[in-house]
Symmetry: none
Subunit: 205 residues, 2 copies
DNA sequence: GACGCATCTATACTTTAGTATAGGTGACTA
DNA sequence: TAGTCACCTATACTAAAGTATAGATGCGTC
């Protein structure tokens, strides 16, 4: 019987997924509420076949938690799970050695398939990942930006004003306005806040 | 047999909770992926005893979705569920006529209790609301925010303008400005972009 | 009842953001 | 050489954001 350790900080989500997996398949599912808890349990027993980590739970610190888990238990399969992450995060995770990536938008049936997939030694990442607009704004938008516009966007992502950006880049405020206006158009958003949020979502800065 | 309609946009979360409830108790659980879907299903059949709405799913618009549901189906019990909300939101929800508030940090067993509680006509809101990470995540700057300011912040996190926020919350633009000004001060930031970035960084929305 | 508090509105104002247009420079290229 | 493009600046404007005061309502508490 495959042993799974599921780590998620939302008790309700974690427990019901665990219960579901145990009823519909012959899985033994242990649970943890954060990364430290999960690592602790792994230390106790060495029979865990698959470790599922929530991307946003305490201790994860982005993909740092993935590294910790892989480093400590190189043999164990490790999958990431997230309710908010996008394709970029998924790609980065897979590139850093994750065995699977499970968006919470997955159906319960697909989850079982994904787990079987990973347990059999395959890598799993869903195709139908990005929804329409996520796909559309994938990365084409950002590649259109000029060097200066990119620098401006970077400053926007700290929430700076045009005046502050002008000082930092040593140009006039009007010029900053121009760059902002152009990059808003290229990104297809309507104000600086949306631009900053979009860039952050894509983990550009 | 009590009929429950569970609406959550995360397929995985929704399906597993539904499956769990159907196996451990004698509940009939229907599901929906957003508020409109849920309202549509309610129209079809009038035998739903409890409607569970995810606070952050499409169509909810803060507590507006709760109002819509209560207005359309005054007899049906309505409970809110959220993974990120804090006590203020919960209080506001209960004040606006919700029959229960279910944080996702609840244990699966407690969920069943909460549902039974609500079905029997009682109001349910957990005492140990902010324990552990719920507290850690929601405290500090954000706990100072009022319910309305929190809703405003949520809209800021989509990059909306004051005018759009005013329309969504059905208040005047001046009022939105007031809320924005106050929440900026409480969060210790100097503009809306910084506020949005801060909230996103803390995974509030 | 008096008080604090959250909420909403109003008026009035300053500052910032964003748009529009025009023009100048240097680099690279057909 | 003429054309294109990124970049910078300028003037001028409209729209939006943010600040400051003041007043009104309702709700719960002491």
């Amino acid at each position: 019987m495959p042993n799974i350790l599921l780590a998620d900080d939302h008790d309700l989500v974690r427990d019901t997924i665990a219960a579901y997996l145990e009823t519909v398949e012959d899985f033994k599912v242990l649970t943890a509420a954060n990364l430290n808890d999960a690592m602790e349990q792994m230390r106790g027993l060495d029979a865990i076949d698959l470790l599922i980590l929530d991307y946003n739970m305490p201790g994860m610190n982005g993909l740092e938690g993935l590294d910790r888990a892989k480093a400590a238990y190189p043999v164990c399969k490790v999958a990431l799970m997230s309710g908010v992450a996008n394709r970029d995060v998924a790609n980065a995770a897979m590139a850093q050695g994750a065995d699977g990536f499970i968006p919470k938008s997955l159906t319960a049936a697909s989850l079982v398939n994904a787990i079987k997939f990973v347990l059999s030694g395959e890598k799993y990442m869903p195709f139908d990942f990005g929804t329409a607009q996520t796909e559309a704004k994938a990365d084409g938008e950002f590649s259109k930006l000029s060097a200066r516009e990119l620098q401006t966007l970077e400053q926007l992502c700290i929430g700076l004003s045009n005046k502050e950006i002008a000082r930092n880049l040593d140009i006039q405020e009007v010029t900053v306005k121009l760059h902002v206006k152009n990059l808003l158009a290229k990104l297809g958003v309507s104000n600086r806040t949306q631009a900053a949020l979009l860039a952050k979502e894509r983990h550009l800065f």
